[in-house]
């Protein structure tokens, strides 16, 4: 199987979906001739033309809102928000409109739209090019929020998102774009939305996480294996609505749980995961449910040492896991 990068998997999925279904089109800032500021849509403008890869005006609420209208007409827009930080001007369109369209029209209208956005830190992006925005939208029924961790998942989940008949927020970790490589079949496949995935089996401690943090967990697990600690890793993949069964199963399995996110801790996705566990398998627990996240500061600073201080570090993951194992 070819080994490609996270972002290549993305472009491949877009390309395949566009050639498969003429209703799929791309819209966003600089997605056309420039191929996106991260080059996620590279080559697609040349291949599909300016009608299907649309450089929009600099206006996120319009990008989302126009996308909604196009989706209502029967298209499958894939809208890019240049950075997830910049999707807030579109919050009203996403939360009040896209998410509620099917419900409020009693299943008459629907919004088969995917909104892609790079998120996450560790790239020297400062306050507004590093944020995790998923928690803001993770209380909005009608939305699905997908966050892949590997190139394989990127391709399968993006295709599933595009084919979904409901709106999907698809967050891509910008540091993973070129850092993370992996095997990706050339052929067409989809992965189920709403399903978490066991990325490593283990018996002593469970990590539940998503995005880049999956790789931090995998690294830590590798190291701890040498120490005789066996780590179980569940990658949520869809962070809203959550895969409750998988969470309960993974938590019950070891009874010692680390919930890991690079988002600020209070009010993060991991709060809900903790609540699910505490509600459903409390008596299977052998240790308090530990959460590891970023400090509760507004966002990741630009200066190197401050960025470092903000971002969760692989060693922290390792330490927390060791502590739990020894609990």
């Amino acid at each position: 199987m070819p080994v490609i990068s996270y972002i290549e998997a993305l472009t491949q999925a877009l390309d395949e979906e566009m050639s498969r279904d003429e209703n799929v089109f791309i819209m966003g800032e600089d997605v056309g001739m420039r191929g996106g500021v991260f080059q996620a849509t590279k080559g697609l403008y040349e291949k599909y033309g300016e009608n299907r890869v649309i450089d929009t005006p600099l206006a996120e609420s319009a990008i989302a809102g126009v996308g909604i209208g196009a989706a209502m007409y029967g298209m499958r827009p894939v809208a890019e928000m240049q950075f997830s930080d910049f999707m807030l001007p579109a919050a009203n369109q996403i939360i009040s409109e896209a998410a509620k369209m099917r419900y409020r029209s009693n299943n008459d209208w629907s919004v088969p739209m995917t909104i892609r956005a790079p998120f996450g830190g560790g790239v020297h992006g400062g306050l507004y090019h590093s944020q995790s925005m998923e928690a803001i939208f993770a209380n909005v029924p009608g939305l699905k929020i997908v966050i892949p961790s590997t190139p394989y998942d990127v391709k399968g989940l993006l295709k599933a998102s595009i084919r979904s008949n409901d709106p999907v927020l698809f967050f891509e970790h910008k540091r993973a774009y070129r850092l993370i490589k992996g095997e990706v079949p050339n052929h067409d496949y989809v992965l189920p939305l709403g399903k978490a995935d066991v990325k490593r089996k283990g018996t002593d401690v469970t990590v539940i996480t998503y995005g880049l943090m999956v790789h931090f967990a995998l690294q830590a697990a590798e190291k701890l294996a040498d120490e005789g600690i066996s780590v179980h890793i569940l990658d949520l993949r869809t962070v809203y609505p959550l895969d409750k069964e998988a969470i309960i199963e993974a938590a019950s399995k070891t009874g010692k749980i680390l919930l890991l996110t690079e988002d600020t801790k209070e009010g993060s996705i991991m709060s809900e995961v903790a609540a699910i566990i505490a509600e459903n398998c409390l008596f299977d627990l052998d240790a308090p449910i530990k959460r590891l996240g970023a400090p509760d500061a507004p966002a990741m600073p630009y200066a190197g040492p401050l960025e470092q201080a903000f971002m969760v570090k692989p060693e922290q993951v390792e330490n927390e896991l060791r502590n739990l194992a020894e609990f």
Binding site: P57, V66, M75
Partner: protein, 341 residues
Amino acid sequence: MIKDKSETTIETNRHQELGLTDQDVLDIYLNMLKARRVDERLWLLNRAGKIPFVVSGQGQEAAQVGAAFALNRDKDYVAPYYRDYGFVLAWGMTIKELMLNNFAKAEDPNSAGRQMPGHFSSKKLRILSHSSPVTTQNPHAVGIALAAKLKGDDIVSFVTFGEGSSNQGDFHEAANFAAVQKLPVVFMCENNHYAISVSLKHQLACEKISDRAIGYGMPGKTFDGNDPLAAYAAVKEASDRAHRGEGPTLLEANCYRLMPHTSDDNDMTYRTKKEVDEAKKNDGVLTFANYLRAVGVLTEDREKKMEEQVRKEIDEATDYAEKAPFDDADTVLRYVYEEEN
């Protein structure tokens, strides 16, 4: 029955000039009348405690119905806002459906009682689902036009909104997007001079809403919102431009909101009865009836029949809607996401 002093004024036949038949203008009038009488009934039902809430379109029917008649009612997509009773009636929604909507019953085609009244929606009729946060429909209408362009469908996308709402960011972003892409969109602002209690001069400082058009590179036009023929002419021209691929137009219907904002409002806390009475003199339902009488299209007999027909229809619809069942309580969790049958 509608009567007015100025009945005897000699009128030129303006509707023929616009290519409208006598039957057309009678239909226009009938829809205006339906909207007005439905609206009046809703207030009565509300005062009688039968429906909890009314949002009213009185004073805006002329612009709404005139606009609907200028569009292709078999093909075009529309995003009417919450006062557009006249528009949706002319567009094909029935009085019965509007009553089901106001009683929030399961059979309501707009939302099966999930949304407040006046939040129109019907895929069958190509009416986009409207929500309460104002102006969100503007980008949707633009998206419809974009999709139609991509698919090569020759349609027009029509959207309405209030003048207060024209100050929302979504108005600006949608108009700009439509103009850049030269999309077949007709934006029609129903300027009724109030946004709840806030009068025009506290909403905006431009002379006309249509002055905003040039900032998007599209034509703008203000017309008499009490005159359905003016609305027809303006929307027809805009729609023709759209079909010719010349892009969007911003229209402004100059109207007046005759009733309080909603049944929860008391408009006498911020405007005078005198002002409202003054505006009532230009009420499109009255003045258009006068016109039709003056040009000999509306006879006393016809008018009486119309009123009777409308009253009967409203009576039956009210009765039906009142008795119709609510949706089951357990549907509260239906259609959050697509369901696999």
